[in-house]
Amino acid sequence: MTSELLELTVGAALRRIEAGELSADDYFDAYAEAAAGDRLNAYLWRTDVGARAGGGEGLRGVPVAVKDLFCTEGIETTAGSRILEGYRPPYTATAVRKLGEAGARLLGKTNMDEFAMGSSNENSGYGPVLNPWDTDRVPGGSSGGSAAAVAGRLAPWAIGTDTGGSIRQPASLCGIVGLKPTYGAISRYGMVAFASSLDQCGPLTRDVTDAAVLLRAMQGRDPHDSTSVGIEGGVELPTREDLAGLRVGVARDFSHHADGLEPGVAEVFERALGLVGELGGEVEEIELPNAEHGISAYYVIAPAEASANLARYDGVRYGTREDGEAGLDAMYERTRSAGFGAEVKRRIMLGTYALSSGYYDAYYGSAQKVRTRIAEDFDRAFERCDLIITPTSPSVAFELGARTADPLTMYLSDYFTVPMSLAGIPAISIPAGLAEPPTGGPALPVGLQIAAPAFAESKLLDAAHAFERAIGFDARPGGAA
């Protein structure tokens, strides 16, 4: 009974609950028990089996897993960092509050790369998350705990955050749906800040419809975040089963410049592209000439913003503090040096360097101009097409440790996802098939990324729904979940 319950999408579970065939409490407890048996290190905190706090009409008390980047009042929030160990925020993030008001109950807080910096979840201060498809492999990152929990049947759905691909890439590597909404669609209030001009909250789910339901519950303007605007006209639940009348853009040059695009990933992508015509859509060849410079621009802009945002961890107002006998400055330095992990230090250094006197124009200034160029590329492309598709990740899930020695190789995991983040436009990853890793072994999930113009989420979800139906992805992870 329980294992069958864990296979349902939330949409299907809600229909059973509403029809009186399933008790909302039984559904919640099935997941609380599954989460209690977490062997993927997906959770940093879990609610107790039998917990009944929260929940209500609408989402009927269904459980939701929340990335540990979101502040939850009175519940430890670490952002995956040792420097925030034991931190219990005095308030709750708007996105989480809205999910509660929509009737969902908090199931747990999920593991993540420290301060959302990473593409493998190996940068967590609390140990790596394992991929349920193959526990020798990474789940992707930085929302790796959320993705692994949803794919591993430890949560029915989850929320995460995406700065350069941190929802889409782990969704791709774990064989689930991950949506990065338009920048400004959902409030960032109470989300521990990484790169404020890029950070955006979004859902990780088993299907496209569930993603639409979570987006609908969380989106909207929030007086606590002056950059939040919400989605005008709200979010429609997707119904489309074809792509009739839609022009789907493909940027061949952008794909050809990807380092390490695996043949298996390219093959699955070509199959998805072949579906466009079958579904009544039209393929349009487009150019995104500046998108290949996305990684360069991103790894200046994001670390620059991070170096400013992370200045707040100084051992004064929250988090840990190291010995201050040698004075205030020494306390700052020791606290930060002991509390931050290697990747966070690397990005703070990179950002501080890029913003420092003499280098600002060459790095930060130029990167902001490349950002403009990339946004203009998308504007031009969307004059000729309604949607753009790419692979989500150049590779399937890689082995633990495979990319930790070389930060640049790790950064290139975000090649296909970063340009949309820089342009602020929405993009979704849906499972499109399985491919064998280049080194051999069992086949692993491959994601298809679909992007749309700013605030065109309803259209994006509709098209993703049509692809989802046509692809019919029904593989399940067999790992030690």
Binding site: Y87, R88, P89, P90, Y183, G184, S197, P223, S226, T227, V229, H293, S296, Y299, V300, A311, D314, V316, R317, Y318, G319, T320, R321, G324, E325, G327, L328, D329, A330, M331, Y332, E333, R334, R336, S337, A342, K345, R346, I348, M349, L350, T352, Y353, S356, Y363, S366, A367, Q368, K369, V370, R371, T372, R373, A375, P407, L408, Y411, L422, G424, A454
Partner: protein, 95 residues
């Protein structure tokens, strides 16, 4: 491209205390990353407006009405060393 002295200078700006091993590694890693980033220096970006933010919003204001904010005790709760209703820090003068 980035030497030990530069790493130490940036670390000071960032309030990070790095071990000798971290300094060595950081110099190599930052150089490698910046070499990749430097590809954008070959682009002709003259006359391009920089983008600092993607949402076209200006001067988001609210009514100037006082609202209750976080009570002081709650704000102090997560602090490592709260004292007398404030955040206590070590002396800036200590050696």
């Amino acid at each position: 491209m980035i030497d030990r002295e530069q790493v130490l200078h940036v670390a000071r700006l960032a309030r990070l205390e790095l071990s000798d091993e971290e300094i060595e590694r950081m110099a190599g890693e930052l150089s490698g990353i910046l070499e990749h980033v430097d590809r954008i220096s070959a682009l002709d970006l003259d006359g391009v407006e920089p983008t600092s933010h993607v949402v076209a919003l200006e001067n988001v204001l609210r009514a100037d009405e006082p609202e209750p904010s976080l009570p002081r005790e709650r704000a102090l709760e997560p602090a490592p060393d709260p004292a007398d209703g404030a955040f206590r820090v070590p002396s800036p003068q200590a050696q």
